[in-house]
Symmetry: C2
Subunit: 183 residues, 2 copies
DNA sequence: TAGATTGTTAATCGATTAACAATC
DNA sequence: TAGATTGTTAATCGATTAACAATC
């Protein structure tokens, strides 16, 4: 709506677009504060900024990626990250043949430099795109370096301490959920 | 549990593992049929087969992948698909330089062959890993070929007719949801 | 038989929706 | 002012949990 230069929106309009009851929208928003004006509605730009604040996506975050294989390179080139204030700030790999290889504006670094680089570049999140057999070792190293939020693409069940937030991006599950609708 | 050679399980045990109330588990399962035995519990292998049946993941499905870039190649090599009865049976790309290129045991085909190959190989699902600018064109071609379940990795909002099931695998959202827990 | 556990009905709990005073 | 729309309280609805007869 902001892109379409629409300035204000009512809970009724939002409800139509999101296929939700207007009262639900007002109640959910009201839980976090008073963002609207009676008789007027919600100001689009203000609502966006408030929602970003609530979801904590109103700040820049540096991300470290471990595993310079096809998936790792694909993610590095994924330009939507940049738009959403997420920067891949370093890429690591265990394979000496890949060290120094250019990926975008970055060069692949040895995993041994992980700890130092995480501190230096203020990396707060990690992405794991190594083979399943290497994943636990990598997650341990990321945690040792102080990273507490990790997105794992390796098809492995990883063990992390309770203060670390691990999210598994399981592409199989996505496909399987679609399989339900086939035929 | 099957891998651990455990033969039977009670709703109480399942509840503990899944962090759910035992009554919830019994009720949910009972919705689909009577899978347990009073005084005994559920037989692990039977329960697995019934759940796979309910979720319709008890059959082999061939998948066509469009876009032989890094992400496409990464997905082709993703061996977990095979284990879950999902086979990438063909890879397409618009770039003539990629035609004939080997990816696993497949060769990259021109998109012009899509329609024919989908029929020939009984492809039921599609994966889109092309640039955002090409995605709508590709989804249209997949639909024209008769594919009704599509997983899209391109950061684009695609239009599909109501009988087609489109699922967007948005990697940004995954990362953003983790960002909430940073600091 | 006694203990265990299901499937299901009844009770409880929480989430959604309706209604409305406040007010722009 | 009259119409619109919020934030919030009250009413409704549905989902979760407890309880228990059936039975292995």
């Amino acid at each position: 709506m902001q892109d379409m230069n629409i300035k204000k929106v009512s809970s009724h309009e939002l409800g139509q677009k999101l296929d939700m009851n207007p009262a639900q929208i007002r109640k959910d928003l009201a839980y976090f504060g008073e963002f609207g004006r009676k008789g007027i509605g919600y100001e689009v730009s203000y609502l966006i900024s408030k929602i970003k604040e609530i979801l904590k996506i109103n700040r820049h975050i540096n991300v470290g990626l471990v595993g310079a294989g096809h998936l790792g390179i694909a993610l590095s080139n994924y330009n939507r990250f940049t738009r959403e204030k997420l920067s891949i700030a370093a890429i690591f790999d265990a394979d000496p043949n890949k060290w120094g290889m250019s990926v975008g504006h970055l060069k692949v670094q040895p995993v041994s430099e992980l700890q130092e680089t995480v501190k230096e570049k203020d990396i707060k999140m990690g992405i794991i795109t190594v083979p399943a057999t290497e994943a636990q070792k990598v997650v341990d190293q990321l945690i040792a370096a102080g990273v507490t939020a990790i997105l794992n693409f390796a098809p492995a069940t990883l063990k992390v301490p309770s203060h670390v937030h691990l999210r598994n991006a399981d592409l199989t599950t996505e496909l399987q959920s679609l399989a339900y609708y086939v035929d």
